[in-house]
C-alpha cells in the first residue's frame, strides 16, 4: 500500500516536494478534500485559506526554479490567535468575529518567509482561556479518538488537526498547558519552547508573562524543524531572548540517554490520578532507564500551589490584556465576551484592586519566584524531569460545565513549568481505555536541544504514535 499524502511527516513531505514526486497543489487538494469531509465532524478549522490553490501553484513554480526556502510548499494549520494578514483572526471569540488583522504575527511571518503556506486557522478556547476548546464561541473541537470527548485546549484545534491528519503541521501557543495538554489528549507531539524563545508579537495576548508559541506535530523531528524556523529574538518583542537559536533538527543526534539524569517527580503522580495513567508514567521511567538514563524519584513543591499562583497572575494579566476590547473598536460590544472571559476579567480586576494587590498578585509573584528557584536547583542536578501531562485522558464533551477551574485542574502538572518559563515536550506514552496519554519531558529554560533529543530517543524506541482509524 502506498503511503497516503496525509501520512507523511512534514520532513518527508518536504523531501517529496523537493524531489518532485509530489506537487504542493496535489498536497493542497488532498488536504482540502479531507478538511471538507472531516471538519464538519470535528470542528477543527474556523477558516480556510481561500487562496490556497493559487499559493500552492506559486510554490510549485518556485520549487521548479530551485528555491532554497526550508519550508517551501509546506501546509500549516495555525491557531486562531495568531494574527494573519488576509485571513480572519478571531481567537475563537465573537468580539473579533470577522476581524481581518492589518499585520502578520512574527511566527507566521517567519513561516511564510520560509515558504510555508497557511492552510487555515484552527479552533481554540476563546482568547485561549481553557483546556477544552469548549469555551470557543464557535463550538468545541471534538477529539478524533472519541467524538464524545474534547480535544483539550486551548490549542485543541491544532492538536486535533494533527491527530485527524487534517494538516501536516500545526502551530499552537501555550500559556500553561495549551500546547502540551491537547497534544496529550489527541495523542500527538506538542512542543512548548521556553518563554522568550519564540516571539509573541502578533499573538493575541493571554497571559503576557507565560505565553509561548510552539508547534504541534506528528513527531519530534518535525517539531525541531518548525521551532528552528520560528525561534529567535524579535525586535518587536522586548521579552524575546537574544540567545542564539540552535539548529535543533541537525542537533537531534542522540541515539540513547546514557549519562542523562532524569527526575521523576513524586508530587506529580497525584493520588487522584488513574492507576493506569500512573503505570504508563512508570513504564516510561523504566524505558528511560533502559535507554541508559539514570532515573530518580524527586520531590518538588506540591503543584497545587502553582494552581493558585497561576490563577492569580494569569487572571490579572488577562483582565488587563482584554481591556483594549472596549467596545469602541473592532465593531462588537463587550457583552459578546463569553462567560469564561467575563469570569477571568472579574477575578483579575479584583486581584489587582487597591487593597487586594498585596494579598494576591504580589504574594503570587513571590511564590512564583520560589517555584522558579526550585526548578533552577533541580536542573543543576537533573537534565530533565518527567511526569504525566494531564491527570487523565480526554474528558467528555460538557465536562467544563459548572467547572470554572476545569483548566487549572487539568493543567496542574504543567502549571509550575509554565510559570517558570521552562521548555517541555508532550509525547504519546500509551493508551488508557483506547485514549492516548501524554508524557511530559521538561527541561530548563533554553535547553530545547536537550529536551528535543531526549524526546526523540524516547519516540524512536517506543511505538505510541498512532492515528485514529476513523480519520486514517
Amino acid at each position: 500500500m502506498t503511503k497516503a499524502i496525509h501520512h507523511y511527516t512534514a520532513i518527508e513531505l518536504l523531501a517529496e516536494l523537493k524531489a518532485k514526486r509530489l506537487t504542493v497543489l496535489e498536497v493542497s487538494k488532498h488536504y482540502l478534500q479531507r478538511i471538507e469531509k472531516y471538519n464538519p465532524v470535528l470542528n477543527v478549522y474556523l477558516s480556510i485559506n481561500q487562496n490556497l490553490l493559487e499559493e500552492a501553484q506559486a510554490a510549485d513554480e518556485e520549487i521548479k526554479r530551485g528555491s532554497g526556502k526550508p519550508l517551501l510548499g509546506l501546509l500549516i494549520a495555525v491557531k486562531d490567535n495568531f494574527l494573519t494578514k488576509g485571513l480572519p483572526t478571531t481567537a475563537s471569540s465573537l468580539i473579533l468575529k470577522d476581524y481581518y488583522p492589518p499585520y502578520e504575527s512574527t511566527v507566521t511571518k517567519k513561516l511564510l518567509d520560509a515558504g510555508a503556506i497557511i492552510l487555515g486557522k484552527t479552533n481554540m478556547d476563546a482568547w485561549a482561556h481553557g483546556s477544552s476548546t469548549e469555551s470557543s464561541q464557535y463550538g468545541p473541537t471534538l477529539n478524533p479518538w472519541d467524538l464524545s470527548r474534547l480535544s483539550g485546549g486551548s490549542s485543541g484545534g491544532s492538536a486535533a488537526a494533527i491527530s485527524a491528519q487534517l494538516a501536516p503541521i500545526a502551530i499552537g501557543s501555550e500559556t500553561s498547558g495549551s500546547i502540551r495538554q491537547p497534544a496529550a489528549w489527541c495523542g500527538v507531539t506538542g512542543f512548548k519552547p521556553s518563554y522568550g524563545r519564540v516571539s509573541r508579537y502578533g499573538v493575541i495576548s493571554m497571559a503576557s508573562s507565560t505565553d509561548s508559541p510552539g508547534p504541534i506535530t506528528r513527531d519530534i523531528a518535525d517539531a525541531a524543524l518548525i521551532t528552528s524556523i520560528i525561534a529567535g529574538q524579535d525586535r518587536y518583542d522586548a521579552t524575546s531572548s537574544p540567545k542564539p537559536v540552535d539548529k535543533y533538527l541537525d542537533l537531534l543526534t542522540k541515539k540513547d540517554l546514557k549519562g542523562m539524569k532524569i527526575g521523576l517527580v513524586k508530587e506529580y503522580l497525584l493520588s487522584s490520578m488513574k492507576v493506569e495513567v500512573k503505570s504508563l508514567i512508570q513504564n516510561a521511567a523504566e524505558k528511560f532507564k533502559e535507554l541508559g538514563a539514570q532515573v530518580e524519584e524527586i520531590s518538588l513543591m506540591d503543584p497545587k500551589y502553582a494552581i493558585g499562583v497561576y490563577t492569580v497572575i494569569q487572571r490579572s494579566e488577562v483582565s488587563s490584556n482584554l481591556a483594549r476590547f472596549d467596545g469602541i473598536r473592532y465593531g462588537n460590544g463587550r457583552e459578546l465576551f463569553g462567560d469564561e472571559a467575563k469570569r477571568r476579567i472579574m477575578l483579575g480586576t479584583f486581584t489587582l484592586s487597591a487593597g487586594y494587590y498585596d494579598a494576591y498578585y504580589k504574594k503570587a509573584m513571590a511564590v512564583r519566584t520560589k517555584i522558579i528557584n526550585e526548578f533552577e536547583n533541580t536542573f543543576k542536578t537533573y537534565d530533565a524531569i518527567i511526569g504525566a501531562v494531564s491527570p487523565g485522558p480526554a474528558q467528555k464533551v460538557g465536562a467544563t460545565k459548572n467547572e470554572p477551574m476545569f483548566g487549572e485542574m487539568e493543567d496542574v502538572l504543567i502549571n509550575p513549568t509554565s510559570l517558570s518559563g521552562l521548555t517541555g515536550v508532550s509525547t504519546p506514552c500509551g493508551f488508557v481505555d483506547g485514549l492516548p496519554i501524554g508524557l511530559q519531558i521538561t527541561g530548563n529554560q533554553f535547553e530545547e536541544t536537550k529536551i528535543l533529543n531526549i524526546a526523540k530517543v524516547y519516540q524512536d524506541s517506543t511505538d505510541f504514535i498512532k492515528y485514529p482509524d476513523q480519520f486514517n
Binding site: Y103, R200, S205, A238, T239, S320, A354, Y357
Partner: protein
C-alpha cells in the same frame, strides 16, 4: 476672623513631551504636532491585538538626564507599570507608566531666593491619543433615498499622539506663592530645553502644567487645610500664576462659607479660563481612583549600571543654574551673575581672569555688565586703567559713603525728613572724595541704599 492666617501650598506636576525621533514603544515618529490625523500610527500605538511595546532607549536616557539634572536619586532597578483606566483615547485600556519604581526620585530645584523645592519623582510614560469632538458636514445623499440630510455630531480619535514619550516631574507642595510656582516652572522649562530633551513648547502641548493648590488656614482653633485642587489645561506660566492666585482667593472664601476641609475623597480638578480669569470645575475625581497598577509584563525590568549612569551624568551640559552658582561662588554679585551666565563672551572672560591676582573678579563683572569694558579690547589693560586706584570697587565706595555720611549729619537728617535734594549734596560729596572715578548713578544707588539702612 481677625487672626486668620492663610498660607498657600502648591505642588507642581509637569508633563514634558520628549523630542525623540520615534515614539516611546514603537517606531512611529514622535513629532505629531499638526500632522494629519492617524497618519503616524502602527499596530503598537493603536493597541491592536497581539502588538507589543518595545521601549525607546533614548527616551529612557532623556528621562535619566532630567532626573540627574534635578539631583534626583536613580532607581537602578526599575520597571514600567500598567496604569489601567478606560478612556476612548487610550488604545490599550491601560497606559504604560511607572508606579512604585520611577526612574528618578527625591531631587530638588533651588529658587533664586535660595529656597529648595523638593522633587518627589521623575518618571516616564506614554502619551494618549486625542479626542476631537466635531460636527461632520452632511454627506452627499441621493434625495430619493434619504429625506433631507443632516450633519452628524461625532467624536473622533486621533492616535498620532498615542505613545509619544512623556516625562512627568512631580514636586512636593513646597511652593508657597504664585511667583514661586512661576519661577519653579520656568526653571523646569529652561532645564529641559538646556538638556535638549524637549522643546517644551507650551503652545504645542509639549509642556503641560498642573499645579495642585490648597491653603493652610490658621485661626484661633488651629490649622485647617482646604480641599486639594488640581489645575489643568494651563498653557502659560502667567496663566498658572493667575490661576493659583484666583484659587487662593476662592478657596479661602469657600472655606469661610462652608468650612469644608481636605479629605481623601474631595480632591477636585479645575480648569482655567484665561478670558474670564477664573478657574472652573471639571470632573470631580472619583474617590481614591483605583488604577490597578501592576508591573508591565511585556517589558522586562530595567537595570541601569553605575557606569552607565556615570556616563550620562558626565554628558550633561552645564546647566544655567549651576553656572550662576559658580559665578556667585567666585564672589560675583547675583545681579551680575544673572546677566553674565547667559552671555558666552562675558562668561569666557570671567573664566580667563578669575584667578588673576591683579583683577578683582566682581569688579570685572561689574564693568562687563555695565559695558564699561569693550570685550574686544585688551581686557586686562582696560580693567587696570579703569581701576587705577581701585575706587570703583564697591566696598571702597561704601567706605567713602560711610565717611561722607558721618561727616555730614545735617544733610542726612534733612534727607530723612524728606528733603530729597539732600541726596544730591551727598552724591556730590562722594564724587569729590573718589575724584570722580565713580559714576554718579552708582554713587546715587549705593547712597540711597546706605541711607535706607540708617
Amino acid at each position: 476672623m481677625k487672626d486668620l492666617k492663610s498660607e498657600l501650598l502648591i505642588g507642581a506636576e509637569v508633563h514634558i513631551e520628549l523630542t525623540t525621533k520615534s515614539k516611546m514603544f514603537c517606531g512611529c515618529p514622535a513629532d505629531h504636532f499638526g500632522k494629519d490625523p492617524n497618519t503616524q500610527t502602527c499596530p503598537v500605538c493603536l493597541g491592536l491585538p497581539g502588538a507589543l511595546p518595545v521601549p525607546n532607549q533614548r527616551a529612557i536616557e532623556d528621562t535619566l538626564k532630567i532626573g540627574l539634572a534635578l539631583k534626583c536619586e536613580i532607581n537602578q532597578r526599575s520597571h514600567f507599570d500598567r496604569k489601567q483606566y478606560f478612556y476612548p483615547d487610550l488604545s490599550k485600556g491601560y497606559q504604560i507608566s511607572q508606579y512604585d519604581q520611577p526612574f528618578c526620585h527625591d531631587g530638588f530645584v533651588i529658587l533664586d531666593s535660595g529656597k529648595k523645592i523638593r522633587i518627589e519623582r521623575v518618571h516616564l510614560e506614554e502619551d494618549t491619543g486625542k479626542l476631537q469632538h466635531d460636527t461632520l458636514p452632511p454627506l452627499p445623499v441621493i434625495p430619493s433615498e434619504v429625506e433631507g440630510s443632516i450633519s452628524e455630531r461625532v467624536s473622533l480619535i486621533d492616535f498620532n499622539r498615542s505613545g509619544v514619550p512623556l516625562v512627568e516631574i512631580v514636586s512636593y507642595p513646597d511652593l508657597s506663592s504664585s511667583d514661586e510656582a512661576k519661577e519653579y516652572l520656568k526653571k523646569i522649562h529652561n532645564l529641559v530645553r538646556e538638556l535638549k530633551v524637549s522643546d517644551a513648547d507650551m503652545e504645542k502641548g509639549q509642556m503641560r502644567l498642573e499645579p495642585t493648590v490648597n491653603l493652610k488656614i490658621t485661626d484661633g482653633k488651629g490649622d485647617h487645610y482646604t480641599p486639594l485642587v488640581e489645575l489643568k489645561n494651563i498653557n502659560s506660566f502667567s496663566f498658572a500664576a493667575a490661576a493659583i492666585n484666583y484659587e487662593a482667593k476662592r478657596q479661602l472664601e469657600e472655606w469661610q462659607k462652608t468650612g469644608i476641609e481636605k479629605s481623601k475623597s474631595n480632591k477636585a480638578t479645575r480648569g482655567y479660563d484665561s478670558q474670564k480669569k477664573v478657574t472652573f470645575p471639571q470632573r470631580q475625581k472619583e474617590e481614591a481612583k483605583d488604577y490597578r497598577y501592576f508591573p508591565e509584563p511585556d517589558i522586562p525590568p530595567l537595570h541601569f549600571s553605575s557606569e552607565y549612569l556615570k556616563k550620562i551624568k558626565e554628558s550633561l551640559p552645564k546647566l544655567p543654574e549651576e553656572i550662576k552658582r559658580e559665578l556667585t561662588d567666585l564672589g560675583i554679585d547675583a545681579k551680575y551673575a544673572e546677566i553674565i551666565h547667559k552671555d558666552k563672551v562675558m562668561l569666557s572672560l570671567i573664566q580667563t581672569y578669575k584667578s588673576d591676582p591683579e583683577i578683582k573678579i566682581n569688579n570685572l563683572a561689574n564693568l562687563l555688565v555695565n559695558k564699561k569694558i569693550d570685550p574686544s579690547t585688551d581686557i586686562k589693560k582696560s580693567y587696570l586703567s579703569l581701576n587705577r586706584s581701585g575706587e570703583t570697587d564697591e566696598t571702597k565706595i561704601k567706605e567713602i559713603i560711610e565717611q561722607v555720611l558721618k561727616a555730614n549729619p545735617a544733610a542726612v537728617a534733612d534727607y530723612r525728613k524728606g528733603k530729597t535734594n539732600a541726596l544730591g549734596f551727598l552724591v556730590g560729596q562722594v564724587m569729590r572724595q573718589t575724584k570722580g572715578e565713580v559714576d554718579p548713578k552708582t554713587a546715587n544707588t549705593l547712597l540711597a541704599l546706605e541711607l535706607s539702612k540708617l
